[in-house]
């Protein structure tokens, strides 16, 4: 492989630079709108770009990080997730201290993803886990893999839109049966901020210790002398280590919550599905209680691109840029298996994300960071779903691994 410096000037780098310039120009243009709206839009685009960059460079993907540990004994990806949760929890605690000085006052922090804890959440998270294992990625990773030219991801996203529509169809009976009276548990209102934070960090440390206990010794990491070339390789080509990746995801999550909204990647997708389904007459005339719940809101679209839409657009564009430069942009013709697994896994994830009000980012990451019990429940059941799929797949030797 050519060194990144040598490749400077080749077409992938030129396309990457042009994409970056376009992103910067768009962010600048949004920022020119007077008032806070333009500033928020600009921030949404740029934070999405930062998130996409970190996802791609750190390979921050919930499924592959889990499989790295369970299949290869490599704990780094899981550690990155745990670091992101810990740093985000600390960041959210700092924001909560200013916004909701008294957590016992009976109010939830505004817009934080603190969702209802119901059997439906567990089932939805499990289905999401199966879907991500089947399609090879969770939804956020499919978005950044779109930027890498993945042959499965477009089908997974199409499947997810269909899954959302199925989710809207099944929402009313599920809501009436389990969600309407489900408790919304915000852990700081139970424990207070200091104890909540201590418990969260303690539990994450325990999970990190378990991950490390499963780790198998890999090849030693030979430290190359730091030169301009090796530094450039480390930043532009090699996968980022878990610690900066986790720190950055946690920091971006905190800043996004402070300025615009908690991290989430399904609101725009779900809104598009809801608007399209509504236009096609596939939507129940009323979705009970949906618009009053916390999470990745799927509102009927009024604007072409919401703030979440800009965030996702920034994510895909920046991931595309990073993939080009690191030589990971590898579009391929999809095989029939990839198409089918993408569509089926995507549909399961879409149904799960609609019913759980978000995905591994919106419910798991932004929920646990915000002290939501719903985030922890999602973590447990999405993991079980993915492991159940992998265990079942292992018994079917004829099928190619996803």
């Amino acid at each position: 492989m050519l060194s990144p410096l040598r490749r400077f000037g080749s077409w992938p780098v030129l396309v990457a630079l042009a994409t970056l310039a376009l992103l910067a120009a768009a962010a600048h243009a949004f920022g020119q709108t007077p008032g806070a709206v333009g500033a928020r839009q600009s921030f949404a685009l740029l934070s999405g770009a930062a998130f996409g960059l970190v996802l791609q460079r750190g390979r921050f993907c919930f499924l592959c990080n889990l499989r790295d540990l369970t299949r290869a004994g490599d704990p780094r990806g899981v550690l990155a997730i745990l670091v992101a949760l810990a740093i985000g929890a600390v960041g959210y605690a700092a924001v909560f201290g200013a916004w909701v000085p008294n957590p016992f006052g009976g109010r939830l922090p505004p817009t934080a993803h603190v969702g209802p804890v119901s059997p439906a959440l567990a089932v939805a998270a499990f289905a999401f886990g199966v879907g991500m294992a089947l399609s090879g990625s969770c939804l956020s990773a499919h978005l950044y893999r779109l930027g890498e030219g993945s042959p499965t991801s477009p089908f997974a996203l199409v499947g997810a839109v269909a899954g959302f529509v199925i989710g809207f169809q099944t929402w009313n009976p599920i809501y009436l049966a389990t969600v309407a009276e489900a408790p919304v548990v915000w852990l700081p209102s139970v424990f207070g901020y200091p104890l909540w934070l201590a418990l969260t960090l303690g539990l994450l440390a325990l999970l990190a210790a378990l991950a490390l206990a499963r780790a198998r010794a890999g090849a030693a990491d030979p430290r190359a002398p730091l030169t301009l070339r090796s530094a450039a390789r480390a930043v532009l080509v090699e996968r980022w280590p878990f610690l900066p990746t986790g720190l950055l995801v946690g920091a971006i999550g905190t800043l996004a919550y402070l300025r615009v909204a908690p991290l989430g990647v399904t609101a725009e997708l779900g809104s598009a599905a809801r608007t399209a389904a509504g236009a096609a007459g596939l939507l129940p005339s009323t979705l009970f209680g949906l618009d009053g719940l916390r999470g990745c809101a799927t509102v009927v679209k009024e604007t072409l691109l919401s703030e979440n839409g800009l965030f996702v657009l920034g994510l895909v564009a920046a991931s595309f840029t990073a993939a080009l430069v690191s030589g990971r942009f590898a579009p391929a013709r999809p095989t029939r298996g990839q198409v089918l697994r993408g569509l089926a896994g995507g549909a399961l994830m879409g149904w799960g994300a609609m019913t759980a009000l978000g995905c591994t980012v919106g419910v798991l990451l932004s929920g646990i960071q915000a002290g939501a019990l719903s985030g922890w429940v999602f973590l447990v059941f999405v993991t079980l779903g993915a492991l159940a799929h992998d265990a079942a797949a292992a018994r079917l030797p004829t099928r190619a691994a996803a």
């Binding site: 008032g35 806070a36 924001v95 200013a98 916004w99 000085p101 505004p110 615009v260 009927v300």
Partner: protein, 307 residues
């Protein structure tokens, strides 16, 4: 951000000698006036926004958040906030007997105006002001925003009993519908709601069974009172707009909309800016249009979502 506000406040507080009321006598205050009075202990600013998270992500420094859907209404029965709850809200925020209360919010100050009307109903009218243009103007001017939640020592405010001078009930409106000409009825909804073409604006969940308007009501949409930048038009312009529709202040006025919040905006314009005698009918079309046996003017004939 705080430091900027602090410096600004300190510089300007030095120039303040005569107290808050002296600078602005009207019910509207400008964003600059509010910026100049951020450190004035006799001025207390409240944000009343509809969208969640707007206040927390940046508000006028020192402003206290009011959640209109639980704090300015009764959370159980359909009614305005009780005296006890409002008293508690204001004293916790540090409002004293002689504090000037400034309200502002998103969406053209709709709910800030609702707050001004509720406070008027509890007898606080003269010291309640609206920041002209609300959040929109504050943001457009690039004035400082803060994310901290202020805490205050308990204030000495004592609010009075609810008076009905500014509040109309179904019976008052019915009189006009049946031909009583001692007051003028003003519907401030959009022309399509007024004519009965639609039941409510897109996305509204609270609806009426019947479309149209109260017979004998005039129609001046609330937005006619507002400039493009969000500020309220000049008195002369306002007088002309409403006089053209037959509302000139010579008779008491009753305003209504769908749930009574947009009409608070027009109530504020007519009562507090122009000084007319105005009542807000907070039951509005969601009460009247659901009432059995009352006369309705339905120009388009929309019935049960069809014709």
């Amino acid at each position: 951000m705080k430091a900027i506000a602090g410096v600004l406040g300190a510089v300007l507080a030095a120039g303040l000698t005569a107290g808050a009321g002296a600078a602005e006598n009207g019910a509207l205050v400008t964003a600059d006036w509010v910026a100049d009075n951020l450190k004035n202990p006799k001025v207390k600013v409240f944000e009343v926004s509809v969208d969640p998270g707007v206040y927390e992500r940046g508000h006028v420094p020192g402003a206290t958040n009011i959640r209109w859907h639980t704090e300015l209404v009764d959370p159980v029965k359909r009614d305005i906030a009780s005296r006890e709850n409002l008293q508690k809200l204001l004293s916790t925020a540090g409002v004293d007997k002689d504090t000037t209360i400034v309200l502002y919010g998103d969406n053209n100050n709709w709910f800030a105006a609702w707050g001004a009307w509720v406070l008027e109903a509890y007898g606080l009218g003269d010291r309640v002001k609206l920041l002209d243009g609300g959040r929109k103007v504050w943001e457009a001017k690039g004035l400082p925003l803060d994310t901290a939640t202020p805490e205050s020592a308990k204030g000495s405010i004592e609010i009075g009993e609810l008076n009905t001078k500014v509040r109309a009930r179904l019976g008052d409106v019915l009189k006009v519908a049946e031909g009583d000409q001692s007051s003028t009825l003003l519907d401030i909804r959009s022309p399509d709601e007024f004519s009965g073409k639609i039941f409510a604006p897109e996305g509204s969940k609270e609806l009426a069974v019947r479309a149209g308007h109260v017979p004998n009501a005039k129609n001046v949409p609330w937005s006619k009172a507002v400039n493009a930048d969000g500020t309220i038009k000049s008195k002369d312009e306002l007088k002309k707009i409403y006089a053209d529709a037959g509302v000139d202040g010579s008779k008491p006025v009753i305003v209504y909309c769908r749930i009574g919040e947009r009409s608070s905006h027009t109530w504020f314009v007519l009562a507090k800016v122009l000084g007319y005698d105005v009542k807000n009918y907070d039951g509005s079309w969601t009460e009247y249009g659901n009432a059995v046996g009352v006369p309705v003017a339905n120009l388009t004939g929309t019935v049960w979502q069809g014709k």
